[in-house]
Symmetry: C2
Subunit: 137 residues, 2 copies
């Protein structure tokens, strides 16, 4: 089974380190840029200013060994980036898009963070069966 | 940079194939079981019946080459599992938990799906800075 991740882009952020970054994207008051590689641009069709997206990013600075700490719940009950597979989610608003360059608000990922995926923030009716011509899988 | 995914568990589901599965987790009326590997059990502390979690799963049956189809938005504007990195999200309710065996409602992943992560469904104040003793990273 192929579980290899292929980053589709990168975050350009005013937050250089986790110390600079807000704890959650909802506290991110500064704009970031999500740069998507050219070969993936066809996947961006339909994304316009005002859209709300989930940015799925790889917390490359996370400690993957952490499962819990005294006095806290386990990482699977929390949102900390420190977890065995540091796949993180931020719901953002698209301020503008020019080609593969998306200016967004609400992203706490630090500068240089690999981007794995973008998704509609709200699950609509386009799950398993929703892509015409592709069928159910 | 290490972007290797390590499944933390597997889905045991009454939905054998995508044809059997509902389009979205919200339409999943049958219970599924998320089995977490023993070495990750410490990360489950605090997860009890009634909890709402995001299950992050790997759509191993997805077509990773799909970016768009005529007449639809691109995959990054949608929720289809077909995408370059088929990392999918389902918000579930925990019906019960016994050790690493979580019975859940709301999961459209098919039987045998690799589980990558569990997270609190609602982002709380435990982001970058939230894990005492770990610091910000």
């Amino acid at each position: 089974m192929d579980l290899s991740l292929r980053p589709i882009g990168v975050v350009r952020s005013p937050y250089a380190t986790p110390l600079d970054a807000p704890r959650q994207g909802e506290f991110a008051r500064r704009e970031s840029v999500v740069e998507i590689e050219e070969r993936y641009h066809d996947g961006l069709a339909g994304i316009e200013a005002g859209a709300r997206l989930l940015v799925v990013w790889w917390a490359h600075l996370a400690d993957r060994r952490v499962l819990s700490r005294p006095g806290t719940d386990g990482v699977f009950a929390m949102r900390t980036p420190h977890r065995p597979n540091p796949v993180c989610l931020s719901e953002v608003e698209v301020v503008s898009r020019e080609g593969g360059r998306l200016v967004v608000l609400g992203l706490e990922a630090t500068d240089g963070t690999p981007v794995l995926d973008l998704k509609a923030a709200r699950a609509e009716y386009d799950g398993w069966c929703g892509l015409p011509g592709v069928g159910t899988l």
